[in-house]
Symmetry: C2
Subunit: 313 residues, 2 copies
Amino acid sequence: MSETVTVRQNTVVAAVIGLGSMGMGMARSMNQAGLDVVGCDITPDAVDRFVANGGRGATTAIEAATDADIVVSVVVNAAQTEAILFGPDGIAGTMKPGAVFISSATMDPAIARDLSRRVEACGHHYLDAPISGGAAKAASGELTIMASGSRQAFELARPALDAMAAKVYELGDAAGAGAAFKMVNQLLAGVHIAAACEAISFAAKQGLDLDKVYEVITASAGNSWMFQNRVPHVLAGDYTPLSTVEIFVKDLGIVQDMARAERYPVPLVAAALQMYLAASGAGMGRDDDASLARIYALLSGAKLPNTSGGSLA
Amino acid sequence: MSETVTVRQNTVVAAVIGLGSMGMGMARSMNQAGLDVVGCDITPDAVDRFVANGGRGATTAIEAATDADIVVSVVVNAAQTEAILFGPDGIAGTMKPGAVFISSATMDPAIARDLSRRVEACGHHYLDAPISGGAAKAASGELTIMASGSRQAFELARPALDAMAAKVYELGDAAGAGAAFKMVNQLLAGVHIAAACEAISFAAKQGLDLDKVYEVITASAGNSWMFQNRVPHVLAGDYTPLSTVEIFVKDLGIVQDMARAERYPVPLVAAALQMYLAASGAGMGRDDDASLARIYALLSGAKLPNTSGGSLA
């Protein structure tokens, strides 16, 4: 290791906390861009795989972050992000002074503002930087990042952002804006997946040729990014999780909580969330989110391709 | 007129019943393609405008249809379509034997099947042919048509279809399929407009830069054809009707009625329909359908661009 350290003395050191399908791709993208990347994860196997691919591994977040100029947090939600920073083994007190913490989890903007304030109080910088694009784009370093934070946070984060993203939206000089833009996107994405499933199973219920429905709708005013992306899973009867039902149980839950606090009615989000809850409650929480189509089919007797059919009766 | 008749002896004669924003464009497109087009409308002024643009006028549907090889019905709904055919002054008994009736109104597929059966019993042909694309595409002869019907109905209708449409989807050999595909499209379109309005006013409630929201979302997974098309109306504060709230009160109402009859639950359609009803009930029924954003703003205090603001209190 000493040789590597010598060679990389002027190299930016980045820690990635969370080596799931997104974090692994982001860590490798930074590695390939020439950063010295240290990864850690609660699953030792994930760390081993990253090390086998040329990264450095660490067993704890504190160890990973100790020499890092940039810490990229790629965990599931606000609670895990807070635990990484301020939990019993949190890094807020042990990070290198003046380093930047890049937070990529989708969360309520109010929490992003609070975490930013507390991280800055410890002498570090905070970039509110939710990500979009999925595992494939993470692996190729072509994510979309919706970011906000101080000028200095952006400057310090730049080598990581350049390595991970095809597009970085700079959405404001304070934490919260990035999170808020992400929540607007998730509101639409979550409703559109549910609408796509409501529509394709409705077409199945009427006995229409579903491949033809896909062809016509994707060329018509009823199209959405999500209809185009998710309906092929239904047509193939393949619910292998590319993005799970539980993600939108979480994200539409955040939208609903935000909206309730702000006294803003969200009838479409509320209706869609019930369908994600139904899918999760029916045992499909870890399946692909296109599984909502199977719930509509179960509730109506519609026949979808390559599914066992199934019945609630 | 006699000279014209002589010149056009081998010309296909088409009647257009209903010269609204769609029908006028369709009639002119057929005229420009060399068909001999007779237009009629309950508004004499519309007929005068069509005649001033080189068409022929008629005062009643019976008069318009009497010599027509093709009758194109461009009215609002199933009830008007049935009245044209089988009402007190209906054309079903007076149409030229063997002519084709092209029905473009959005309607329940079961009604389309019933009308087709009754028209065929009178010795004519019926093409179930809902249209999509809006007034501009109608004027340029570039509509999308979702059609089903017998081979003979398609053959007879071909000169009209070629003149009116950029794309004709041939969706089956019997009436009903065209209507069903259109309803699937309307389900999605209606839900997506409501989702776009729910999202953009939610962004406004949080004080986000709405032009930036539009830029980010249209490049992200939250995008839809309708978000991209309708949100600019909200950003401009311009609710001049390009397509009215009442259209989706009607079309989501049809979807809900179909779904109820089939015992198919449509929670997203149900939620969206309530918002169209709220907009209509608040006096915006004849405004642009992006007016749903104004309802969300009224219900939450969100501030949208160039609106008087308004308050329910």
